[in-house]
Amino acid sequence: MNIVVCVKQVPDTATERKLRSDDKTLDRDAADGVVNELDEYAVEEALRLKEAHGGEVTVLTMGPDKASETIRKALAMGADKAVHLVDDALHGSDALGTSYALAQTLKKIGFDLVVLGSESTDARTGVLAAMLAERLGVPQLTFANKVEVNGTSIAIQRVTDYGYDKVEAVLPAVVSVVEKINEPRYPSFKGIMAAKKKPVEKLGVADAEIDVAQVGLAGSWSEVADFAAAPPRAAGTVVKDEGDGGVKAADFLASKKFV
């Protein structure tokens, strides 16, 4: 099975994240880049599927040169090879543009199954899996906390507010995973050393036959009009317990429509 895992480099959530004042895109130099956490679960799931069914795991990343660190991490976990889509023309692409660029690349490199995290910790749109599936014309199986492949069919448990749905499809398909699905492995020493020798193919927009009018800041359908720092948290409400603390707490929750 030819599995492609899409991973994204995001700013470390533990550091202060900023947007650039000039083009209102993410300031990638202001924070350390790390692998989007949910994508680690995607890599782990891809590796488990490969271990169970054989095949190959390819990492696909779209991002600047710096994103190669993210690729190395996924390779160190055990992926076989990587494709790095890197081009200045892609800078500032929104979800629609990104899904187009990735879909073009996926068409070029081929796949039986695409696995990705259900959202990124920076933009958090959570729409990429659905967009990708649509652009590729294959089934989408999103928010999976369990994946089973049987021959050419795939079944997942799709996490919902009320439990889960069972969703089945025929490969090729796109799957997005949630963090409950597994426990990602740490790269081992041998894994990290071996990752340095694994092939990473760099592709530009021309290589992937990407129409530059549909990507980048100019090609994006959404636009960041303005941004501001979140206001400092206001002082909380102190409720003094004079024997009626429970009632006061319940009233407070009711006033906020929590109960």
Partner: protein, 393 residues
Amino acid sequence: MDFTLPESALAVQRGVADICSRYDLDYWQRCETDKRWPEEVWAELAKGGWLGLAVPEEYGGGGQGLLELAVATETLSASGSAGGSAFTYVLTPGFGAMTLARHGSRWQRERLLPGLATGEIETCFALTEPDAGSNALGISTSARRDGDEFVVNGQKIWITGVQRATWMLLVTRTVPASEARPRTHGMTVLLVNVPEAVASGRLSFRPIPKMGANTTPSNMVFIDDLRVPAANVVGEVDQGAAVLWDILNPERILLAASALGGAEVALRVAVRYAKEREVFGRPIGANQAIAFPLAQVKAKIELARLMLYKAAWLFDAGRPCGTEANIAKLTASQAAWEAADHAFQTHGGMAYSMEYPVARLLADARIGKVAPVTEELLLNYLATQVLGLPRSF
């Protein structure tokens, strides 16, 4: 000249830090309070091949050297483990794997190294005695040849990790110290199977209540007519001193790495508090009385690290490293102590609360100034062996 760490060491830094990032200061504090081995971290380090870094590849290890082990120790320590990291890396990867990789016989290597690489076999090291600490050559634990065996009698103290160890590297005298010429002659290192020795009733041990570093107990060990096969001699009979230096120098280097990491944690904790804590309307770190000592600690950490890496590099190259190992141990331990002491001062009275990590870091740092060798003995080595000054003893 290139100060860049080799890729293997950078991989160690990244990989060990990755694992450690899920274990915070509170985790290590709980291990200390509960006197509990950090099983979770140990298992992850074992699984990733981080314990077996210095085991040759043919035995399932990473095929690296002391530099990589030192970087792993420092990284683990700096993540919050501090003193506890010493035991994780010194006992099994250091005492066990490094020693047998270099001095073990073929069967010893084949039997032990694969297990040492995966952490399934653990080791401890028994040298110090109630009457022989700094004067290690003066030990009195005796091993008398009897056919294909040695019969061992004696007492050891401050032997850490006996409880978990499958094998003990036991340093004995096959020629009494009083008769040995030169004084280094007549030392023999034996591999003792600990569970078997305990089961035979010929070896027993008792933990010593201690001030810190409680993730692993340190013990009194009593040996009474213990029979050890002659095939368990590490290196040559009577020539154990050669093995001993190759145990003690890595021990100094790994403990220097642990101390250095401890210094880094203490400094990090102090700097964070100095930035956050406001008194008289400004962060206390704005006061030079707080800031300058922390800046000084930073300088000492960087200097000690240079010597640490140099000493490890020399050892791996098979070159003499005694002077560098001793300087690394001396300066890293001093940096750790000063870092912990200034972290204490920075925290003011809050440092005395066990809810802050400072008290643990202070206790961990203090032991580094006396163990496994006192600062005075390290200075004495530099004075007599390096500067050629007359001996006082």
